[in-house]
């Protein structure tokens, strides 16, 4: 009898360990997609409904949860442009005007299918509450996220997370009406630094205009760069 109990415990333990809590999954997601401080070189290819593709090259720098800076290198039309997030404020710096203008987090990121919040605000643990539901994708957890407050860009998110290494593989983003607005595929999971793996490719599809999608590919990611806070001020734009 005791043997049986021991056996049951032994069998149950790995099962318990394999069932992460929602909080753990969200924290893990935030740690993967938006580490505390990092620098990355990224390209984004935005496919428009007319079939044209525009490719942007940019460099990201992040510090803390709410300090972001983006430099654009190509195409020529946006070369020299910068984006800045500090706290809840977002700006785009236009080099030919030598002026920064405020933008909204809901605006499209460079006219693509990501919005500014998708790129510059990755903090699901703070913005959403979640429940684990049965997944329709094999070998994944399905996190059903619901917005905590009306300030988030989506009302609900379905996040598919791979069981083996807790990497995200698919996201579906919904408006208040319940209609799917965007969907994302996360792929090419790559170990950029020892112990830090993240999807190098994110394809964001516009579910309202099926021909539109934007693909973001990370060429390099450097963690723990810890830039000084002064770099995230308007005065430093263009410098």
């Amino acid at each position: 009898m005791r043997l049986l109990a021991l056996l049951t415990m032994c069998l149950a333990l790995p099962a318990l360990a394999a069932d992460p809590t929602v909080e753990e999954l969200l924290k893990k997601y935030d740690a993967i997609m938006g580490p505390e401080s990092f620098e990355t070189e990224t390209t984004m290819s935005a496919t428009r409904e007319d079939g044209s593709v525009r490719t942007y090259e940019m460099k990201f720098l992040k510090k803390d949860a709410d300090k972001f800076r983006v430099w654009f290198g190509a195409p020529a039309s946006v070369k020299g442009q910068e984006m800045l997030r500090n706290g809840e404020s977002l700006w785009v710096y236009l080099p030919n005007l030598k002026r920064a203008t405020r933008i909204a987090s809901r605006d499209n990121f460079q006219g693509g299918d990501f919005n500014n919040a998708d790129v510059l605000r990755v903090n699901y643990a703070a913005d959403y509450t979640g429940t684990l539901v049965a997944s329709d994708l094999p070998e994944t957890w399905l996190l059903q996220l619901k917005a905590k407050n009306p300030d988030t860009s989506y009302d609900a998110i379905k996040l598919y997370i791979r069981k083996s290494d807790l990497q995200p593989v698919r996201g579906q983003y919904f408006g208040t009406s319940g209609q799917m607005i965007r969907s994302a595929e996360f792929s090419d999971h790559k170990e950029f630094e020892k112990g830090y793996t993240r999807p190098a490719r994110v394809v964001m599809k516009n579910e309202l205009v099926k021909a539109r999608k934007s693909e973001m590919v990370m060429k390099s990611v450097k963690l723990n760069v810890s830039p000084p806070a002064q770099r995230f001020t308007l005065r430093r734009c263009s410098r």
């Binding site: 809901r106 408006g175 209609q179 607005i181 309202l208």
Partner: protein, 407 residues
């Protein structure tokens, strides 16, 4: 003294041909001024009616700072839409009707492509109280929105054409809450709206207020109130009354302040009107002045006789001025009558007119009030007096002996 007017009248009657020509000139000038004014007032009425009854309402209430604010998201400055607020506004004397609207923007898509739109969320049960002609005319085949049509939309017809969307098909309407929450809905196209403003045909979609509120997550709120007034002449007083009733959190604007384009257009028309009237009056004055001068030359002997029998110089002056005034008055009155008559005849027929900056045809019915007509007559009389001053002075200065010998 009392004999002078009679004498003047007799003089005017005696020189029949001369009086006729002068009178005719004044009739034509005054008649033309009344006619032109009638047309311009008619166009102005059409434009004002289009704006006040068809789109903006006579007055609009927004949250304080809304109109001057160009930076923030407009839907962020939303205000509650409650029966209490409506009742408060309706209690202001001069207010005839109140409705709430939610103006927003977003992207409309047909699954293949998306484009920007300006959305109007209308409280369909009350919209006509404030804007009787606001029910955007719907192209044949479609039907106007009804209060229960929460899943339907009216699309500006040019927007619909550019999209190749058919009646009864669905379009996807995407927008954001003021705080940035994305939302989208599939709505059925119930009709294509056509407006006299091309912009509205190309960019505007109309949905029931409830639909707009749920799309934007703004239940029970609007961005503006539109208000109809009993009398447009009392607009400013009603505005002040509303402002006092609502307090400093709100701002009340007149349609002129909100539609500066139309206001400027009207001002420009008034300026052109003024210039035309001025030219016509200058012509009339020249004709009167000329006639009076001619009559002084022709009647030198008569003036000499008058002076010789003891008529005072000042009385001769008065005589000529009186004659001019009589001519001015009769000519002016007849001109006004002719102008008004012509206006009434034209108005009863109506002129189909394409308004500047619009694409639809409206029926122009020229009209002007008696006030301006009276003013035209008065100006004709005063003008005649001024024009006759010099010739009359010349006549009164004649030397009776010379005048009798030369005449």
């Amino acid at each position: 003294m009392s004999r002078l007017p009679r004498l003047a009248a007799r003089n005017v009657g005696r020189n029949r041909r001369r009086s006729l020509i002068t009178g005719l000139a004044i009739i034509v000038c005054v008649g033309m001024v009344v006619l032109v004014k009638g047309f311009i007032d008619g166009v102005r009425y059409l434009m004002v009616a289009d704006v006040v009854e068809g789109r903006a309402g006579a007055l609009q209430v927004h949250q304080k700072g809304f109109v001057d604010n160009i930076e923030a998201v407009p839907t962020r400055m939303n205000i509650p839409y409650t029966p209490e607020l409506v009742a408060k506004m309706k209690a202001v004397p001069g207010v005839a009707g109140v409705t709430g609207r939610l103006m927003f923007n977003g992207l409309i898509g047909n699954g293949v492509t998306q484009t920007m739109f300006i959305g109007r969320g209308l409280d369909l049960e009350h919209e006509e109280e404030a804007c009787p002609r606001s029910k955007a005319s719907v192209k044949p085949g479609g039907a106007p929105l009804l209060p229960g049509d929460t899943t339907h939309v009216l699309v500006g017809y040019e927007l619909g054409e550019s999209f190749a969307v058919a009646l009864g098909k669905t379009v996807n309407v995407q927008s954001n809450s003021p705080t940035g929450r994305s939302n989208s809905m599939d709505l059925t196209v119930k009709g294509f709206s056509s407006s006299s403003f091309p912009f509205e045909n190309k960019r505007v979609i109309t949905v029931p207020l409830a639909t707009a509120q749920s799309l934007l997550g703004l239940q029970g709120r609007v961005t503006e109130y539109a208000i109809r007034v009993d009398d447009l002449e009392q607009l400013e007083e009603v505005r002040r009354g509303l402002q006092a009733a609502l307090g400093p959190e709100y701002e009340v604007h007149t349609w002129q302040e909100l539609n500066t384009f139309v206001r400027d257009l009207i001002n420009r028309q008034d300026f052109i009107m003024g210039a035309i009237a001025f030219v016509l009056f200058v012509i009339a004055l020249t004709v009167i002045g000329n006639t009076m001068l001619m009559s002084v030359f022709e009647r030198v002997r008569e003036i000499g006789t008058l002076l010789a029998v003891g008529v005072r110089r000042v009385q001769v002056l008065q005589l000529f001025v009186l004659e001019a005034a009589l001519l001015g008055m009769f000519g002016g009155l007849a001109g006004a009558a002719v102008g008004q008559l012509a206006l009434r005849i034209i108005a009863s027929i109506g002129i189909p007119l394409e308004l500047p900056g619009t694409s639809s045809v409206a029926m122009l019915r020229p009209y002007t009030g008696w006030g301006y007509t009276g003013l035209a007559v008065a100006v004709a009389v005063i003008g005649a007096l001024i024009a006759s001053a010099l010739p009359a002075r010349r006549a009164s200065r004649l030397n009776p002996v010379e005048a009798l010998r030369n005449g």
